[in-house]
Structures are given as C-alpha cells and as structure tokens.
Amino acid sequence: MPTDVERWKDEIYGNDIREHLFRFAEEGWDAIPDDEHDEWFERFKWWGLYHQRKGQESYFMMRIGTPNGVLEPGQLRTVAEVADEFARGPVDNPEFGAAYCDWTTRQSIQLHWIKLEDVPDIFEKLEANGLTTQQACGDSWRNIVGCPVAGKDTHEHVDAWPVAEELHETFKGNDEHSNLPRKWKVSVTGCDQGCGQGDINDLAFEPAEKHGEIGFNVRIGGGLARKEPRFARDVDIWVPEEKATDVAAAATRLFDDHGDREDRYNARIKYLVDEWGAEKVRRVLQEDYTDWDLESAGDDLRDQYTYNAGGDEHGDHVGVHEQPDGNYYVGLNVLVGRQGVDDVFELADLADEYGSGEVRLTQRQNVIVTDVPEDDLDDFLAEDLLEDYSPDPHPFMRGSIACTGTEYCSLSIVETKNRQVRYARWLKQNVDVPEGVTDFHIHLSGCTASCAQPQIADVSLRGMKTRKDGDPVEALDVGLGGGLGENPQFADWVEMRVPADEVPGYIQNLLAVYEDQRRDGETFREFIARHDEADLQGLAEPEETSYEDPYMHNTKMTWYPYADEDDMDASPAPTDGDGETISADD
C-alpha cells in the first residue's frame, strides 16, 4: 500500500507546489484546510519550507541551498536583508538576538520564524539575486556540496566548481527528477584533501586519474541517519569530467525506480546498496541506465586526504590560505554556525571592501571570504568582526558543531546550539588543550537524524534523556573516535545517557586521560583507535563541574525554550501575517 506521503506526492509535488504555496500565502495561514495541514507541510519542504515544531505552528524554517556553499558577490547581503526583515520571532534568542542566519553542515542557509504570508516577497527578493529555496528539503536533489574553495585552492586537481554548477543547473527544478523516493544528497570534490565529505552522501564524485586524465570516481550510498550510518560504497566507476552529469542522471533514475517507496525508513539509497551490494548497483547502472561503457575506477587520491583525518589538516579552511591567483582566502570560525544579522551585514561589507564580495560556506558551519589581495590582508585581519569570528580560533571553538535541536525541530530530544556555545566557552576557560591539538571536533546532534554529523567527530554527542535526582533531565549519548580521511571511521558509542551538565566534566577528564596515557605523537583519533570498545567505556567519568546548564528540563515541552513564559499554553502560535495570535474558534 502506498504511504500517505507517496500519495500526496503523486497528486501534487515539485514545481507545481509553488502556485498553491503562493495562493495560501495570499489568503493567509487560515486558508490551508484544517484536514490538509499534514499534506501541505510535507509538500512545502520541496520549496525549502519546514513547519517548525509543536508550539510554533504557522512558523517555518526556510532553507536556501547554495551549491558548493558559494555566495556570489551581493548574495550574502540579500540573505542578511531577508533575515533582518522576515526571520524575526516573537522572542529573542539569548545568545544570538532577534534575527540570525544559520550556516549548515551541507553548505546551506537556514532562517527561522518565517511566516507563510511573507513567502512571495521573500522568494521574489531571493530570486532577483540568483538565490533559491527550491529543493532545499523534500524528496529531491538537495543542495550540492563540495570543497568550499573549489576553483580557489592550490590543492585542486580538477576545478570541481563548473561540475557542481552543471549538476545544479541540470537537476534543480528538473521535472524528470523532482519526485524521488527520498532525499538525494550529492557531493563533488576536485581537491586532494577530501573536504567534499563524499563518504557521507548518497552520491559522491571524488577526483581520480585514468589514462593520464583526472576525472572522478563514483561512490554511492552514504548517510548518517537513524543509527544506521553508512559510508558511500565504491561502485568501481570512473567518469571523465564531461560525463559526470550523465552518470548522475543514471544513478538518480536508478534510485527513482528502485528506492523503496513503500517504506520511508528504508527508502534512502544506502539501504538499496546494502541489499544489492556495490557490484549489482554497477551492473544495473550499466545495463539499464547508461548507453556507454562505464569505465572501472581510476587511481584516487584518498591516501592524501587530510580533511577531518585526525592529524594535521588544512582541512577545515579556517585561517589564511593562498589562492592559485596569488590572492588569499580567509576562513572565519562561526561557533555552531549561527551569526546575528548585524554581523552578517558587517561580513558582507567586509567581503566587498577587501575581497571580491564573494563569501563561501563550509561543511563545518563556517564562512570563507575569498579573493583578498595580499596587500589588504593585514587590514582585513585587524577588523573588529574577526575578534568574534576568528581565523585563528581556540581548538574547542573551532571544533564545535551543533544542529537545530529543540529550539525549532520536531525530531529533537534536547536543546543543542545554545548548549554547545556554553560547552565551548566553558571548555576554553577550564580545560587544558593537549599538546599539538589545534582542532578538537565536538559535534552535537539533538537526535539520531544526525544533522550535525556527530558520528564523524572526535567526541560525538547525541540527544537523550536520563533521570537525575528523580527527575527526567536532558542527557547525551557520547561517542568517541570518529572522522573521515583515507579510512573513515564512525564513532564508537561509549557512554550512554550522560546528564547534559556532566558532559563538559567528562570531556575534561577524557582529555586528561589522553594527555596522560598517549604515546609519543599519538593523535586523539589514534589514541581512541588503539583501545577496544570495552576499554573505551569507563575511560573517563562524567562529572559535575562549575559548568551550569540552564536547559536541563524538557525543553521540547516548552513552546520556545528561551521565552520567559515558556509553557506550551503561553505560545502565541499560530499567528497571522502580522504575527497576531489566531484564536482557535475563528
């Protein structure tokens, strides 16, 4: 029996949703029939709009997909203007203020508190400036990710940016591929560092050489969600640059036909690859979906990958780096990827003043200002804004990533971003950084969907609950030793249900053990890898410290965790286009 979601998608999906979206926007929130809420909110995702969680009805999260994280000159200012005008909620966030932008782990942008009534104005403004929310969510080709400095990197072997652009242009808004069984995430990399994170995407293009030519090896079936993480599997295919789009179309059609539409849990292609094995995937691609002879895989560059590989890395793009044209790019650290809107305006100004105006987003939730001439570097680096968004951040600030969490997300179990900000600050003040550690990855996800990519961090944190002094409190499962590189590794989950206020103490104790027991020159990841799972459990103890956590109560049961009156009943939602509460008996 087809699922409800598949039935709704059969009726109306893809580009056709837009006219309905605009009609509802015109007529107001109340115009969506009461018995059609679920189906319309499912469809709106395709246009980048995700209904916020219980207590925040009528408000939407809006995602803007920026291929490869590239914001062309002027686009960052557009995003700031949209956030400033339209992304203001009923209550401020205590860390980030009234309006802010989130830079996401897939090089996209997320805004919150968007009202349906404002959507046409927002789309008009975005589209006039070459930006779109199309396919940012939903069962479709999502935003294409890749090395964020493609075209600007001395490590590059193929300029992957034109390839990413061509894929984007081919598959965005393409009716033939607009209704897939589930999300479809693609990564393209041309550099030898591995910073496209291809291993955790559904479809990955990685640089490889064959016949003396650099093209791409293809991998299929990576992803992190649902306690079922998979690395993309090597399907033994090499394509020259000009065939990348064709093979991508073939793989998409295969997914379209064979992905499981009966069971959404089983729909991602990672499960099909589990079932078939890589060889069958290749065979079916060749026999049923391509009209040329697929070449076997070429020589890849994986043994050179440094990105999130545990050792020395240029990988995260933070810092000052020379471009092939002699200019510089400067990567700035944005703690948990969230930036108040005044700072975003300031960043856009600085990018204009010192660079070409272009800004790029990384998969570590950071930003990069490109094209800064050598002579202007010192002045740029002396700007006040860079004190808060440093090109040379403290290792704990640098390594922190957090997802959306209970603030807005209906899947979440715990509060995330504000907590991670407090963790990073406390760790910076109280914990000695072990010798040689410049970047310590702590990724916090509010649930098993793993939007913050916890399984590929040094310390993985995942939302949970426990009981403390008799009361249910927010807690985290803790994993250790994940990362990418030539031999990627998912974290081992070693401490379960640690009360959230004891996690900083755990990390402090853990790093003391590492400092004490590490062998000469051993990285944290090597240190963890040397221990077996039994030894890792109990390697360090959770502990209360001077760290204080204001979010221990069940933040999901509030309408907004930071409101003074946070009871579900105190929620102003749903509201109309002016933000006024719509009463239930209307």
Binding site: H37, Y265, S410, C447, R497, K556, A584
Partner: protein, 109 residues
C-alpha cells in the same frame, strides 16, 4: 467521524486530525514495560504505530528506559483522547491494555 492518524518526519511525531499531538523527547512513566523496572521511565525516540479505539488514541513507542538503559518497543499505550476541542494528552503513569486498538493507522512514517 473517523480520526486521521499518522506518523510523520521519520515517525518523530503523531499527527491526529492534522495536528501535532505527541512527539519524541517525552519521558513517560510506564508500568509493565519491556524492561525489568517496576516502573519504567521511557524516553520516546520514535513511534512505531498509532491507532484509535473510539476517541482514545494509542501508540507503540520505541525508546529507552532511562533508569535501567534497556531499549525496546512498548505494547500499545494510551497517548491521549480526541475531544471536541482537539487532542488532549494523557498524563501520569501509562499502562498497556490487552490487544490492539480497533483501527490502526497505515504506519506511515
């Protein structure tokens, strides 16, 4: 009137008549659960099934007992009632009944 029941967003929440009724992240005291505790404290991580018996809405939830750490899926537990003003949650200790509700939903994730 038939009650529309769905599990949405990877079964993170139960929709009752197109409204968000209950979600993940709640901690329920549950008598006779899948663990050995007399009273389990169940953190709900996902729903497995939802159904209704008249106005009573019931669900099977997947999660952990936060007291003992055991993970599993519960029997049918009451989650709330459909009233003339909408959905009202169950509070307090939950107990499973024998059997399953008369009308289970399609198990839509």
């Amino acid at each position: 009137m038939a009650t529309r029941l769905r599990l949405l967003d990877d079964a993170a929440w139960v929709s009752v008549n197109d409204e968000r009724a209950v979600g993940t992240s709640e901690v329920w005291p549950v008598a006779d659960s899948f663990c050995s505790c007399a009273l389990a404290w169940l953190v709900v991580e996902a729903y497995v099934d939802v159904g209704a018996d008249g106005r009573q809405v019931e669900a099977r939830a997947h999660g952990h007992c936060v007291s003992c750490g055991e993970a599993g899926t519960t029997a049918w537990l009451p989650v709330g009632r459909v009233t003339d003003d909408g959905f009202s949650d169950v509070t307090g200790v939950r107990r499973s009944r024998q059997g399953s509700p008369a009308s289970a939903c399609c198990g839509e994730p």
